[in-house]
Symmetry: C2
DNA sequence: TAATATATTTAGGTTCGTCTAATTTAAAAT
DNA sequence: ATTTTAAATTAGACGAACCTAAATATATTA
């Protein structure tokens, strides 16, 4: 139906819209797609023809409703396959992204719904990101950054805002895992480091940078 | 590494070599690939450059050792994913081919080996076709056509030589399933129909055409 | 507001995988 | 051994997705 490339552009535009506002710039898109700006202009023209995006030259691009539905479908595929890789094949959460980048493009409504059922209709992927349901509806998880908590606050670690392998490795090394309960024991004024009590037991101190990449609720 | 198209050509050449002899004709390849002859000539030149095939113009084409290894890898992927779709997701054996055509191109040695392990290292796919192991070695299943049996012979239904949906549907309808034991009760001289006793119970009569598409051992 | 800097598009090219029409090579039949 | 037929290749073109270099449009800042 759509090429892998088109699907990747749609997903990239979708994510940029989520984080940076409705209108997406050519250069931003070029950056995340790892191509040069003229390639993006080219592609946006073609995708505009197909009514996947609304594009006006030099004015940036937005997804059409159609484009958005396709993008959400890809996100659904990606996250369900990530669950499969971790839950069934025994991958670690820092290893699955690249494989899911391939699997997300496998076509077939029935396939992904069967996979969904097989996995027990999970609500979130291994990184805590919400999985759109078969109708394209995203469960709105109301999580906040760890860095927004005050001393004494308690919460559960539900997701990451930095998906890089290096950050995930860091969390593993520090013994901080998805689902852990944590309490902010203290916040150091001087350098904004957070000392946490994990699962009522372990004590860990993390930097502001880390606290800005951890989602809790 | 290789494009989907290249991989599909390699698989097609591999299968044609298996059934029609070492040298594959441009026209045969065009037919199974569903493209026109000049496209094949073109593609073979490029694949020759990459040492995936040995191609001499107007003399047909053969796989190189490298090309053969890639082809066997694709076949391995295809068949393992078919097992997954049937065993884990609950697909029927006549529904899995097209999805496996997509999944077979997912890259990653580790992925397919983990899948293999997850499935319990199956030796055959849902159609009874042997699955190459991680080293590319195909278990040689010594099966024969049902039509080669004599009256009174007994055997197990281990595979099909016709993979068409219509034939698989026919078998389902007739209640003949992979793994069934069967005994040739009688062969009608006049029209070569086979009357079989299935699992020591049911009795079924099949045409020569069907007997030519059933593999037993 | 005019000058400068940055973002975007246009122009022209490349590779991959396909096509049709025309030509050449090989095989089969007379 | 010629002629006829069939198979394969060459020639020229096209769309998708990319590129570099040059031109233009927008934003910033003097
Ligand atoms: Mn991911
Ligand atoms: Mn994820
Ligand atoms: Mn198949
Ligand atoms: Mn099969």
């Amino acid at each position: 139906m759509h090429s892998f490339t088109e699907e990747n552009y749609l997903k990239a535009i979708y994510k940029l819209q989520e984080t940076n506002g409705e209108v997406v710039a050519t250069s931003a898109l070029a950056q995340v797609m790892g191509v040069h700006a003229p390639s993006v202009t080219d592609m946006l023209k073609r995708m505009g023809q197909k009514k996947l995006v609304s594009y006006q030259k030099s004015k940036g691009v937005k997804l059409t409703e159609k484009g958005k539905q396709v993008a959400i479908g890809i996100v659904r595929n990606h996250r369900l396959w990530e669950v499969f890789l971790v839950e069934k094949l025994g991958y670690r959460w820092d290893e699955v992204h690249d494989i899911a980048e391939q699997l997300e493009h496998i076509q077939g409504e029935e396939l992904i719904n069967k996979l969904d059922a097989y996995l027990g209709f999970p609500e979130a992927d291994p990184h805590g990101d919400p999985i759109p349901n078969a109708k394209g509806v995203l469960p709105k998880l109301k999580s906040v950054l760890l860095s927004s908590l005050k001393e004494g606050d308690q919460a559960t670690f539900t997701g990451v805002s930095d998906h890089s392998t290096s950050f995930l490795h860091y969390l593993d090394k520090a013994g901080i895992a998805l689902g852990d309960t944590l309490k902010v024991k203290s916040i150091e004024q001087y350098d904004q480091t957070y000392t946490l009590t994990l699962k009522g037991k372990k004590e860990v101190t993390v930097s502001l940078k880390v606290a800005n990449s951890i989602l809790v609720s």
